[in-house]
């Protein structure tokens, strides 16, 4: 058994293993024992186990604790979030620890996969894969991770449900509004309980599952915004549901558009700009969805404050207030995400983009409230202090515009340090502020995994480069106030970017 902190290679290998186990579990539910597809899935998992063993100094142990995956003592933040159902399957099967000894064979892996698929303890001995022989040391578990546990669980559940929703839509089925509302209620509970942590969580982005992460983020931002405004729970849930579904029309976009890198054709842009209507159709076509108030958010979130957006709305001077609120959150999350035609902008710059488009794309009042919610140094921002240290803005004080709390994670030489919180409002004996923010930073610039940081409260050496999926060609169409990509065509208004 290896108790040492795993190295980057081992972390990369265990991530691949978890993905292959997740895939094998799903294949096992579709095909009978002995089916070639099952055998192939098992072989892939076996190959991942062998890679993991090679990268580990001893026998690697995978723990599953509180819906989180750990390799030895190290939390696997992204996998804990994105492979929520696999974690559930482990827990339902009563598997808390899996030790991969030498000589693991197909049968061992198949035993594990069957247990996960059937969600019950494995039958018989696992040979070179031992189950629950060792226990996770629970004492001294990270308090931050515990604090985020419920929120992370809500986020992960939402992600799974959105994946299922996406599958349903692609299969020509309808969305399940009731389940979606359950997700929103869970998220709302968590956001209201600790808005700062929720806002931190909205920094999570995914290149390969952009839309789903974006939907959850916008949902949480909208809920937080509604909470900050002082709306009723019913109104907050409406905003949350609208946020969760606002881009559901994109799920049905053809792969050749979603996966397209580079310039889209006019017809492709037309399809992209049809997504609010497509999404509204998906909502309306559900039993409870016709005339659902959230539909206005789905339909109007690109209509723009000055009604210059799409689709055109009849008989109204403005998009609905809920749509105007969610559109602010939508833009913020969109522009802070990486796209095929440009890098993600920082959270502070994103607020500037919103501010620039206030009065045209967005309702100025709602932009002001949103900026106030996030603060001029938004939660989740990476900042450099005058000491040269790098930190993450993790909390804002109750009373604006007092200064935020920053979790310092890198020293002036960019070496990881034991995270330490700095209250920027703190002054020295002469009344001078002890620390000042020099500038905001892009996480990508420093190769900082914010998700890792959020869940573990610390940074570790980056994992070796994995075969990362290409960023989707269309991650999000341009928002108000930001430059349009080359070749962008506003097919709704029949204008090209040269004429806007």
């Amino acid at each position: 058994m290896s108790a040492a902190t795993p190295g980057p290679a081992a972390l990369g290998a265990v991530r691949a293993l978890l993905r292959s186990l997740s895939s094998a579990r799903q294949i096992a539910s579709l095909y009978p024992a002995g089916h070639p597809n099952r055998q192939e899935a098992v072989r892939r998992a076996l190959a991942a186990i062998e890679r993991l063993r090679q990268a580990s100094s001893g026998d690697p142990v995978l723990f599953v604790v509180r819906h989180g995956f750990y390799l030895g003592p190290t939390l696997l933040a992204r996998e804990s979030l994105s492979l929520f159902r696999l974690a559930e399957a482990f827990e339902d099967a009563g598997i808390e620890a899996v030790e991969f000894l030498s000589g693991v064979g197909d049968e061992d892996v198949d035993m594990l996969v069957r247990a996960l698929e059937e969600r019950r303890p494995p039958n018989g001995e696992g040979g070179a894969i031992t189950i629950n022989r060792v226990r996770a040391a629970r004492a001294g578990a990270e308090t931050r991770e515990e604090r985020l546990s419920d929120l992370r669980r809500a986020y992960a559940t939402s992600l799974e449900i959105l994946r299922e929703t996406g599958s349903r839509v692609l299969d020509g089925q309808l969305i399940d509004l009731e389940t979606a509302m359950t997700v929103v209620e869970q998220l709302a509970d968590e956001v209201v309980r600790d808005p700062s942590q929720a806002l931190l969580l909205t920094t999570i982005k995914s290149y390969d599952e952009y839309t789903y992460h974006h939907l959850i983020n916008v949902c949480m931002l909208s809920i937080a915004l509604g909470h900050a405004i002082g709306l009723s729970r019913e109104q907050i849930l409406l905003l949350g549901l609208g946020g969760l579904l606002h881009d559901v029309g994109k799920v049905a976009l053809p792969d050749e558009i979603l996966g397209h890198v580079g310039r889209l054709t006019e017809e492709q842009w037309r399809l992209v700009q049809h997504h609010p209507v497509e999404g509204t159709g998906l909502v309306f076509a559900t039993a409870d969805g016709l005339f659902h108030p959230a539909a206005s958010i789905v339909l109007e979130h690109h209509a723009a404050y000055d009604m210059s957006g799409y689709p055109s709305l009849s008989g109204r001077d403005l998009p609905s207030a809920p749509a105007r609120l969610v559109s602010v959150a939508d833009c913020f999350d969109a522009v802070t995400s990486r796209r095929s035609y440009r890098a993600a902008v920082g959270r502070r710059e994103a607020l500037a983009i919103l501010d620039a488009a206030a009065g045209t794309g967005f309702d100025p009042r709602m932009v002001r409230v949103f900026v106030r919610l996030l603060g001029l140094l938004p939660i989740g921002s990476l900042v450099e202090l005058d000491t040269g240290e790098i930190g993450l803005v993790v909390r804002h004080p109750e009373t604006p515009p007092a200064l935020p709390t920053v979790l310092v994670v890198l020293d002036a030489n960019r070496n990881t340090v034991e995270p330490e919180e700095r209250e920027l409002a703190e002054t020295d004996a002469s009344g001078e502020y002890r620390w000042r923010v020099v500038r905001s930073l892009d996480p990508g610039e420093l190769d900082i995994d914010v998700l890792e940081l959020l869940f573990t409260g610390s940074l570790r050496e980056p994992a070796p480069p994995e075969p990362e999926p290409e960023p989707g060609g269309l991650i999000h169409e341009p928002s108000h106030g930001e430059p349009v990509p080359e070749g962008y065509v506003d097919t709704h208004n029949q204008h090209t970017n040269g004429h806007r």
Partner: protein
């Protein structure tokens, strides 16, 4: 070589300087004439006075509160005798005469008077009488000269009326703003701001220099700014600030504002996103107002009263002084201001959300969706859900909801192409499906429930009539048929065409149903015309129904067709026709019956017509019967009929 005059002047300057210093010392130790500092001062004054008085009495003039000018024109400034000059000036003194060497008591008395409030001195009629009353003779003080002539008023009299009008606008910022903006129609606030400034400069050019040099002139522009529309106001403020470094008029416009006025302008820019600190620093840089603003900030800090009229930007400006205490004030005051503004935003958003008419919004969204949806399959799915909603509302008896849902679809598809409208019609036709209609019929046995059902179904117009007619065609239960007929009759008034179409149906019972409905809708010419067309229907059952319904539908006009049906080959039809004729009260009906008795082809018709005539209320009935009973009648009736007619005549006579 130094002249005597120079020596005298120097001695006089020294005396006045020592007198000024003595005043400062006295104010440090007021009333303490034996204080060593004051004693020393008195000695220095005594020495200086002895020297100066060698050349005679010393005369000096107090000018503007900060200068003392000797007879030879020598001027002592702030740093030499400023305190003495100011003390004299504030108490209305314009001239100072030193006529003797003052002792400590004299000086103490003078300094005490120069430290007293002006009002207390005024009680004595001025400083000189006050000192004379206290026995001071070595120092004498003269009053300020009379007020000069008002140059402004005098110069205004010399102005042309147009220019004078311009000047008068300066007194009223609101009027000035309106005048400067008059006729300005540019959509660009920046262009408008430049126009305003150019106009103001033109006014300045038109006015004489001594007027435009007055502080209130340039300040009037800045004060008028607040009365302009927001975008122009902010552009003009920005313009003035930017120009202040190079343009005298702009510099004075900004510089002559007092602190709160300036703060208002900066705050205005800040609320639109400008960095208030940067703007404030620019103002400070170009207008040399730094010291005053810092003073104001400091007074805010010292007072710590949280004066809400003070603006955070005032405090913000003091950041330029790197004052950490001021920074705290910035935070406090800015916080309050931000929170006030934010509260306004929050309340406005809350109010807007609370005021949303969810129903109206939902219907508007539905309309927009339909207008924009290109996927017919998806639209079909949505319409199926719409059908379910309408059915549910119908089942719940929620007529308002039903009407709203139907109207939403009608509105949404109003501009749609034909194919889409056809799609809606198909879906609409699915709403009133057989189980729903059966449920309605079941519930509508109760009259009140029936009224509700009719109101709800009425929303569907002709579609409801068609659906119910279909249901009626299949319904065998007599009670339910009666309910259906009643419902259709109530709904058919505006949709008779739907009913008439059924007259062409191949199923005779469907035609008969339609005939029944047409007969029940009341005296309608179109219904009667339609019924006339089926008097020759091959099915006797239909003709029988027509015979029964012609009269209510056509009134007297039915006599002709009924007469024809009275000769129908089917006895039932004939019987129905004659019975109907008997129901017409007019004389004409009686004559028709009599004619039937005489000419009827079928004996049963003659018998029945005679019986009907016997009961007929028309005035001619009796005479007609008598004619039929007469043996001389042509053609003469068979004896059996004549005897029956005679009995009927007799019976009518008996009744009479």
């Amino acid at each position: 070589m130094v002249s005597t005059a120079d020596i005298a002047s120097a001695a006089a300057r020294e005396l006045l300087r020592q007198l000024s210093i003595g005043l400062s010392v006295y104010r440090l130790f007021p009333g303490e004439i034996e204080h060593t500092g004051f004693v020393a001062a008195v000695e220095r004054i005594r020495d200086a006075a002895q020297k100066a008085l060698r050349s005679g009495t010393v005369h000096a003039e107090i000018r503007g509160g900060h200068q003392i000018v000797l007879e030879d024109g020598t001027t002592l400034g702030d740093e030499q005798a400023g305190r003495l000059a100011l003390a004299c000036y504030e108490r209305g003194v314009e001239h100072l005469h030193v006529v003797g060497v003052p002792d400590a008591q004299d000086l103490a008395t003078v300094y005490e008077a120069l430290s007293q409030p002006e009002a207390e001195i005024a009680v004595y009629g001025g400083l000189d009488p006050a000192l004379a009353a206290r026995g001071v003779t070595t120092l004498r003080f003269g009053d300020v000269a009379p007020e000069p002539v008002d140059e402004v008023a005098r110069s205004l009299e010399r102005l042309s009326p147009e220019v004078r009008e311009l000047w008068e606008q300066m007194e009223d910022p609101q009027l000035l703003a309106a005048s400067l903006l008059a006729g300005e129609s540019s959509t660009s606030p920046m262009v408008a701001a430049r126009t305003v400034y150019a106009r103001f400069k033109a006014i300045a050019d038109a006015l004489p220099d001594h007027l435009t040099s007055l502080p209130r002139f340039a300040g009037s522009l800045a004060r008028s700014v607040r009365h302009m529309p927001g975008p122009v106001r902010r552009e003009l403020t920005t313009l003035l600030i930017h120009k202040a470094a190079t343009d005298v008029l702009a510099e004075r416009a900004i510089g002559d504002l007092n602190d709160p006025e300036m703060v208002d302008l900066i705050l205005d820019l800040a609320e639109e996103g400008a960095d208030p600190i940067a703007v404030a620093r620019e103002v400070v840089g170009v207008c040399a107002r730094h010291r005053g603003l810092v003073d104001l900030t400091q007074s805010i800090i010292e007072a710590r009263k949280g004066d809400s009229s003070s603006h955070p930007i005032v405090a913000a400006i003091s950041l330029a002084a790197d004052d950490s205490v001021a920074q705290q004030a910035v935070t406090d005051l800015a916080t309050r201001r931000l929170m006030d503004a934010e509260q306004g935003d929050l309340e406005a958003i809350r109010a807007e959300l609370a005021g949303i008419d969810s129903r109206a919004l939902a219907l508007a969204v539905f309309t927009d969706y339909v207008r924009n949806e290109e996927d017919r399959e998806r639209l079909g799915q949505v319409l199926e859900v719409w059908v379910d909603h309408v059915r549910a509302a119908l089942e719940a008896g929620d007529t308002v909801e039903v009407a709203g849902l139907v109207k939403a679809a009608d509105d949404a598809f109003a501009q749609a192409d034909e194919e889409l409208r056809e799609m809606l019609e198909v879906q609409r036709g699915r709403i009133l499906h057989p189980p729903l209609v059966a449920d309605f019929v079941q519930r509508s046995r109760d009259a009140v429930a029936r009224d509700h059902a009719i109101a709800a179904l009425g929303i569907f117009g002709g579609l409801a009539v068609d659906t119910l007619l279909d249901a009626l065609a299949e319904e065998e239960n007599r009670d339910r048929r009666a309910v259906l007929v009643a419902m259709i009759t109530a709904l058919a008034d505006d949709h008779l065409d739907r009913v008439e179409k059924r007259l062409a149906d191949e199923r005779w019972y469907v035609v008969a149903n339609a005939v029944t409905i047409l007969g029940r809708v009341g005296n309608r010419p179109d219904a009667f015309t339609a019924l006339e067309r089926v008097t020759a229907h091959p099915e006797p059952g239909v003709r029988r129904r027509v015979a029964s319904t012609l009269l209510p539908a056509g009134g007297r006009a039915a006599l002709g067709p009924l007469r024809g049906l009275a000769d129908d080959p089917d006895p039932g039809v004939r019987q129905a026709a004659v019975a109907a004729l008997g129901g017409v009260a007019a004389d004409e009906a009686a004559r028709t019956l009599a004619d039937l008795v005489r000419t009827g082809v079928h004996g049963d018709v003659c018998q029945q017509a005679l019986a009907e005539l016997g009961r007929h209320p028309a005035s001619e009935s009796a005479a007609l019967l008598e004619g039929l009973a007469a043996r001389s009648a042509k053609p003469r009736l068979p004896r059996r009929l004549r005897r029956q007619a005679a009995r009927l005549v007799h019976a009518r006579g008996t009744r009479r």
